[in-house]
């Protein structure tokens, strides 16, 4: 059974955009984790995760967002999540991600969101 998944990263302007395509589960989440780690290792802490083509995500994928967000915020960056469909958004909502992450409709609005100052410490 194929588990169609692909991931691509690109640096645009002063942002890294990671595009997820397909299903992020316990099998594919390590690829997502590697991609985020590489972006951070390359010195980019403003990260947009484009979920427009994401068809499914389980807690293994959500854990990747949680595992890196503190690190990039300490470096004055952030991870913005964009393009989620209503169906794929469900696990994010159930776990309460909306109070701890910015959700944006698309990559452009996610980039704009970086100009806003958010004191995430208040959320913790």
């Amino acid at each position: 059974m194929p588990n169609p998944f692909s991931i691509s990263s690109a640096t645009e302007d002063d942002f890294a955009v990671i595009k997820l395509d397909g299903a992020v589960d316990a099998h594919t989440a390590p690829q997502f984790e590697e991609a985020v780690q590489k972006v951070i290792d390359d010195g980019q802490n403003n990260i947009v995760v484009d979920c427009e083509k994401l068809s499914y995500i389980s807690s293994a994928g959500l854990g990747v967002f949680m595992g890196f967000v503190e690190e990039v915020r300490e470096a004055d960056g952030d991870i913005k999540i964009c393009g989620l469909s209503e169906k794929v958004k469900q696990p994010f909502e159930i776990l309460g991600f909306e109070s701890l992450f910015h959700f944006c409709p698309d990559v452009a609005s996610a980039k704009e969101k970086f100009s806003e100052v958010t004191n995430w410490e208040d959320a913790y």
Binding site: P2, H27, Y56, S58, S59, V69, E70, L95
Partner: protein
């Protein structure tokens, strides 16, 4: 009217590679139960989380083991049973800290069980160390 229970069984090697197949199996069975697309998605997620725990924790990625998923549909509910003979655990010991605290401590554990408990009407573990671990989950059917 007399109704007939429907039973579906899937048996696959214990590998995360098979999670997509497990989701497809659950999706097909849940559609027969008449759940809408959103509810089918929720059931797929709950079973995926449960099986990922078995594959990664109970069997420690040992692909010689097998994961068995049994779905059952009767007139009242759609139920899923997942059994394994791997390493057991104490469900009460699973991290239930708030998301904020988990992020602060850079921990991600316990999310799967939290999702399962939210997505399903019933989640029940029976752990017999060294013998058998069983997880029973169910979702009531909506009556018109």
């Amino acid at each position: 009217m007399e109704t007939v229970d429907k039973k579906f069984t899937l048996q696959v090697p214990s590998s995360t590679e098979n999670l997509a197949l497990i989701r497809e199996f659950v999706s097909s069975a849940a559609k027969q139960a008449g759940f809408d697309e959103k509810e089918v998605g929720r059931l797929e997620l709950a079973v995926d989380e449960a099986c990922a725990n078995v594959i990664e924790h109970a069997y420690g990625q040992d692909v010689s083991k097998e994961v068995i998923v049994r779905a059952r549909l009767d007139e009242n509910e759609f139920s899923i049973d997942i059994e394994d003979t791997g390493k057991g655990f104490d469900p009460a010991s699973v991290n239930q800290e708030e998301l904020e605290q988990l992020i602060n401590k850079r921990k991600t554990g316990g999310l799967g069980m939290r999702l399962m408990k939210t997505l399903m009407d019933e989640v029940r573990y029976e752990i017999e160390p060294g013998k058998k671990n069983a997880l029973h989950m169910s979702k009531r059917l909506k009556k018109d």
